[in-house]
Structure formats: structure tokens, C-alpha cells
């Protein structure tokens, strides 16, 4: 995949973040940015026709293992953050009765 396409994914996420009025959609937009970044990193560490980074004798063209190790960590952290954000969304919904940013930020104290 062309690295430029992953930049497109990141830009879609940025667009969603600065236009969506719904808090769930904002959380999704951030996740989309994250997917784009992860795809980009994995892309740059990979070679055309390369094999998995497990050396068993005669591998001459293998993918760079470091991006893969880093990205698995990023995915784990990302899922944690998403889970926490969605939990906070539920709590915000319980207190304000809506998931619109504008409504939530305009009001004072919640219920």
C-alpha cells in the first residue's frame, strides 16, 4: 500500500475530529488517526516480498521487527484509551442526557 494512502486515512481522522459534533464520533475519529499512523509505520518497515521477522536458517529478506514490536504496544495502549474514553462517554451521557459536544459544554453542572 502506498504510504500516501495512510496519510489520507490520518487526514480523514483529523477532518472528523474538527467537524463531528457527537462525542462518540470524536472518539472514533481519534481511533481512525491511530489506525493511519499504525499502518504507516508497518508499511515503512516492510519490504516488497519480505517474510515475517522470525529467522529460521535462510531468510535473507525479512521485515524490520522493531516497528512491529512498537505497533503492538501502540495498539494495546490505543484500545485502553478508547475503552476509557467510551466509559467516560457513558458517564457523560448519564449526567447530561445527550452526546452532543455543544450541549454538554454549554451547560453548567450536570445532574
Amino acid at each position: 500500500m502506498d504510504p500516501m494512502l495512510t496519510f489520507l486515512v490520518i487526514l480523514i481522522g483529523m477532518y472528523g475530529l474538527s467537524t463531528s459534533k457527537n462525542i462518540i464520533k470524536s472518539v472514533f475519529s481519534v481511533t481512525i488517526i491511530e489506525s493511519g499512523v499504525i499502518l504507516l509505520f508497518l508499511n515503512l518497515g516492510n519490504w516488497q516480498g519480505g517474510s515475517i521477522p522470525i529467522i529460521n536458517g535462510a531468510a535473507d529478506l525479512i521485515a524490520d521487527p522493531l516497528p512491529q514490536a512498537l505497533m503492538i504496544t501502540t495498539i494495546v495502549i490505543g484500545s485502553t484509551v478508547t475503552a476509557l474514553a467510551l466509559m467516560l462517554c457513558i458517564k457523560v451521557f448519564h449526567h447530561y442526557g445527550t452526546v452532543e459536544w455543544r450541549e454538554i459544554l454549554r451547560r453548567g453542572e450536570g445532574k
Binding site: 474538527s18 481519534v30 522493531l66 467516560l88 457523560v92
Partner: protein
Amino acid sequence: MHFIPVYLIFVPVLAALFIYVFKSRHMNWLALAAQAVLTVLLVLYYREFSGQYENTLIVFGGWNDRIGISLVNDEISMSFMFLTVFSWWMVLIYTFEQGKTNHNFLFFLMFLEGVFLALLQTNDLFNMFVFIELLSILVAVLIAFKKTGDAFRAGLYYLVISKAAMMMFLLSIILVYNSFGTINILLVREAMQSTDSLTVVRLSYVLFMVAVMVKSAFVPLYSWLPRAHGVAESGISALLSGLVVKGGLYLFIRLNQMYEYANLNYADFFYWIGALTAVVGVMFALSQKDMKQILAYHTISQIGIVMMGLSKLHDPDMFIGGFLHIFNHALFKSLLFLGAGVIISAYRTKKVTDIRGVMRTMPFVSVFMIIGMLSITGAPFFNGFISKSIIKYGIVDSGIRYWILFVVNIGTATSFIKMSQIFFGPKTMTIRIRKPLKNFALMSLAFACVMLGNFYIPISEGFFGFRVQYIDIGTWANFFDYFLALTIGYVFYRFVIAPDPVPVRYIREHKMTFQQANYLFVVMIVVLLTVFVWW
């Protein structure tokens, strides 16, 4: 001895896990014990390595240091670690009663300490990213800990914005890895000597800086800070405003050290960003009536002042001033937030206009609060005076820059004259609760403010390795500046702020929406790209 940094990270984390598993009423003693162990280890480490920090590099597991995880320390991280441990002492003492029953709170607090100490010592860009993400998660939980609608809203706002910023940080790590084949900060720094300043390197710098700007709340990306610090519990606000925001500034120092050989002319740009932050922060603080909101907006403005100093990373005067101001701000802002917490819980309101007669009702707390206010406005013989004078020394010849600092000082003085109205008035009946521990925490912080204000020469030489003797701070000009700012501030308060005219009300009610905040985030990336890549 060599592996003390690892213990520094794991002692608080393990203590946190024990607290979480054995939910006993005596568990806050475990937190204090862990804190004592940390202090002893830190002092031992300091005695062992002081002055020879090049030996502190640890690479784990015997890996090649191009790909291994490593920790390293220098004067800057060392002094930050002392500040961290001291701040946590104060907050743990202050929240001692709460810790007896609320174990989850103590768990998150201790875990945050371990993560913050790890962030200070890491020598690896990806580990830095991991620790900042952990920091964001823990801070979001701690902000939301009050379990009100406000708190959940602020926690979510902070979490989403900081996650978006950290994705830019990660993107930048990818660019660095792709250009240099390593993410070890020291090795990247050396590798930059041999390359010309490539577009990719500049692009990665832009993305790093935009993440730093969100984490340390520069204008225009500050909108999460007043929400978060205004609604969290006072102990947490003190910690967030005093220390955790400084994590962003620490990253600024570290990353700019990394880009030292890339020939980027960042000093002027960040000076003006700092000046803008200082002015805007003070402007919003002047209009607020909520005590914690005032303090939160002052955090933004003080970070601006720090940034004005730090932007000249290679000019010793300004840098020392900015760096000292980080410490001074941590001390007096913690003091003010903790004191405000005591007052707010006694009066049950946050409105500055409703609280009166604190001096008669709570004399001890008032004295400590006044020390904090004198420090933040930069009164002679208190610590704010020292760092502001050193920053002023660096820019005294350059007209407009000097006057911006003076305007910010006037704003700060006005705002704290407004806040000091709470001390006057008759004694009011409030709930009388004896709080010796809270008073002890306030007293220690006030003592530290006064100590640093008077004995800054030996302290800054011992801890930071800076010699500041050559800067003449106690001059009549500096004293005169302070009293002039105070006088103008009083007049300004009396005739402009106190009647509460329409523009002030308009600024108070102005709140940025979430889309605007993110839009500004994108705009800021474009501005930075224009300045550092295309220009």
C-alpha cells in the same frame, strides 16, 4: 547503585498495586513508606552521580543501544525528580485522611508518580510516548474522580485532545526512525550532526512540537487546562498544575536538546508563543470569579512566562530564569491550590465574591496563602521574584519584550489583588475542622517558597548546576518595578475589574467548543509547518 533509576520507577508502582490489592485502612502508611524509600534512594543516587552524569546510562537486557530500552539522567531530570518526590510528599500528606478510605484514589496517585518518574528518565522516544499515554490515562481518571458531570466532561475532553496530540507525536517518531534508524535520543542527537537539516527532520520537529504545545497548554491549544484543573479535587489540581503540566515543558527541553544540531531557529517563534500564552492566560484569569478557574488560568500565564525563558535554550540567562520559574511555579501554585481547597471546603463555595473574612476565620491558612500570592506576583524576597528577575535580566535591553513581561506582571498583580479580597471582612461562621496535616503541607510549601526566594544562589548551584551570582537581582530597579506593577494593578482592579463591565463579562462567558479546539489544533500544525518547513 547503578540500577536505582529502575527502583525509582517500580517502588511507587508496586506500592500502588499493594494498595489496590489489600484495601486496608492503614494502606496510606504504605504510600508514605514508599515515599520515604524513594527519597532515600534519590538522595543516594544524587550523592553517587552528582557531577558525573555521563555514567548514568543504563541499557536493559544487554541489547545493542540502537534498539534497546535505556534510561539516562542529567542535572535537569535529577532536579525534576527531586521536585516530583517533594510534590508527592505534600499532596500525600494533604490527602492523608482521604487516603484512609479511598484506596482507588491512592492507587492512581502512586501509579502516576511512578509513570512521571519514568517519563523524566527515559532515553527512548517510544518509551516517552508510552509514558505520556499512561500519564494521560491516569490524569483523565484523576480528573474524573469527583464523579460529577463536570468532572467526567473535563476528563473526556482532556483524553480525546491529548490522544490526538500524541498521535502526532507517534507519527513524528516514525519519521525519526525512518530517517535515522534508531529512536534512542542520544544517538539521534549525534546522528543529526552529520545530516543537513532535511525536510523530514523539520517535519518531525513540527509534529513533536505540536504535541508538546497541547500537553503543556500553550495558546491556542490550552482549552483543556482550565476545564480540567478547575473541576478536579484540590489535591489533584495542585499536582496537575504544579507538576504534570511541566511534563510538557520537560519534553520541550529534551526534544530541543535532541534537535540541537538540526539548525532550527525556534527561539523567536517560541518566545512569542510564550508571550501570547502569558498575556491570554492573564486576560482570562482577570475576568474569572471562580477561585480555582483563576488559579488554572494563571497556570497558563505562568507557563507562558516559563516559555519566554526556556525559548532561549542556548542563552544561559534566559534559560536559567525559565528553568527556575518551573520550580518556583510548582511550589507556589501547589500552595495556592491546596490553600484554596481548604478555604473552599470550609465555605462551600468557589466564588471569590462570596468568600469574605478568611483572615479572621482561618489565620494560618491565610498567612500561607498570602505567601503564595506574594510569590506568584513576584514580590522581593519570595521565589517568584528571583526567576522573573533573571528572565527580565535577559531581555531588559529589548524594548517590547520587556514591556510584555511587565504587562503580564501588572495583570498577575491585579488578579491576585482581586483574590486577596477574600481575606478582608468580619469573621464568618464556618464548619470548624482541625486539619493539622493540611496545615503542615501548606507550611512546608510556604517555607520552600521563602527559602528559594532568599537562598537561591547555593540551591541553584547545588541542584541545577547553574551559577547565578553574576546576575544582580536585589537592585532598586527591580523593587521599584514590583511596586509600580502593584500600584497600577490596584488602580486597574479598583476602576476596571471590580465594577465588572461588559467586556470582562464577555471574556468570562467565552468558552471554546470542542470542534474549535481541534480546528485550532490543525491550524497550529499548518502554522508550524509554515514557520519551520516551508519558510
